[in-house]
Symmetry: C2
Subunit: 220 residues, 2 copies
């Protein structure tokens, strides 16, 4: 049976795109938001748009508590408060942090946190009992929300290889090619690349959002 998945911050742009793909792929889905009513409304919209009967919405903590796997899709400024709030209810679970350390207004400039990456911060905030995986940094919300091919890859990082494998398999079910990027420390590369892609979007007028594709992988 497919795991029950929570998207904490599922009313945001990236979280909303993830929620749509998860619902379409038939996962039992719980959308989390700071505001339970907004989450419920978003869940209804996702259910209507996808025809899924398995979408509910509630506050972030309840959403994370009821799920097997928890995706976190919140702005960098909310990462600390959000992870602190869900930490007690995600013990033993896989948490997939998608946070990119963008610091407005200079979002096209790399500004990695002193800890090295937002993923490293997540690991510190959640503690050792949580298997922290990071990923989905280099895919635009609009590409996630759309159906079909994404035209880009995502990189998945984590110190627990089985947890990475599990998230890569889920990404595959969502129609997103995901690749092992190495340990959690390597998340810095993809997080920083997001600012580069924002700079590229501006410079080259990329409406749909530039992405990265890893070349050279033998087809399996």
């Amino acid at each position: 049976m497919k795991p029950k998945i929570s998207v904490v911050g599922g009313t945001g742009a990236l979280g909303g795109g993830l929620a749509l793909r998860l619902a379409r792929a038939g996962f039992q889905l719980s959308i989390g938001s700071r505001d339970a009513d907004r989450a419920a409304a978003a869940a209804e919209a996702v259910a209507q748009q996808t025809g899924s009967a398995d979408v509910t919405g509630t506050d972030n903590v309840a959403s994370a508590q009821g799920a097997d796997i928890v995706f976190v899709a919140v702005p960098f400024a909310s990462q600390h408060a959000t992870l602190t709030s869900i930490a007690p209810v995600v013990v033993g679970k896989i948490v997939v942090d998608t946070t990119v350390p963008l610091v407005p207004p200079g979002v096209a400039r790399v500004q990695l946190p002193q800890e090295g990456s937002a993923a490293a911060l997540a690991a510190i905030l959640l503690g050792e009992s949580v298997r922290v995986v990071s990923g989905f940094h280099n895919i635009s919300a609009s590409k996630l929300a759309a159906q079909g091919e994404t035209g880009c890859d995502v990189l998945i990082f984590g110190d627990n290889i089985e947890a990475r494998d599990e998230i890569i398999a889920i990404a595959g079910q969502l129609g997103v090619r995901a690749l092992h990027g190495g340990p959690l420390a390597n998340s810095a590369a993809a997080e920083a690349m997001t600012s580069v892609l924002i700079a590229i979007n501006k410079r080259y007028k990329v409406a749909e959002g530039a992405g990265i594709m890893i070349s050279g992988i033998p087809s399996s």
Copy 2:
């Protein structure tokens, strides 16, 4: 007339690949090495392999001194000494630093320096009178040494946009698609990505070296 180009560290793997592409493209080329004799021998080999009559070799400082544009392709452990040695002779020039901050034995793990990137270190070491550009982090030496399409993009960073433009144009003449990646601080993304690509090479058994391609750029 094409600028005269020095490749400091041109007897190394990446520098050697760059030298071959520069010679094939008809640039006046000076190969630099700590050992002038090794540089001269490498220059002779490049001249034979490419049929170029415009390749010479000498020590790094003399090579940088005689050139209009200086590429630096040395290991991270040699970056400090090399840049310090050429600093007095590159005033007013463009220096293209290709250094990736790999710290053996953990080269598949991102280990960015405290200054943020090797490029930031280069800017500190060379001073404000030098236009520092960084790039060519995510292309393997073997792809550079080979002829024809590279199957990957390179990202070019720098705080001086005209200098970036100039290096992107040169890359184009070498048959390498290069894209503006933003200010020098953004070099952290490509430098960190090299460790991710090394991790991918291991994990997915990529013999020729994985690369990145930026998707979504409108064809010009």
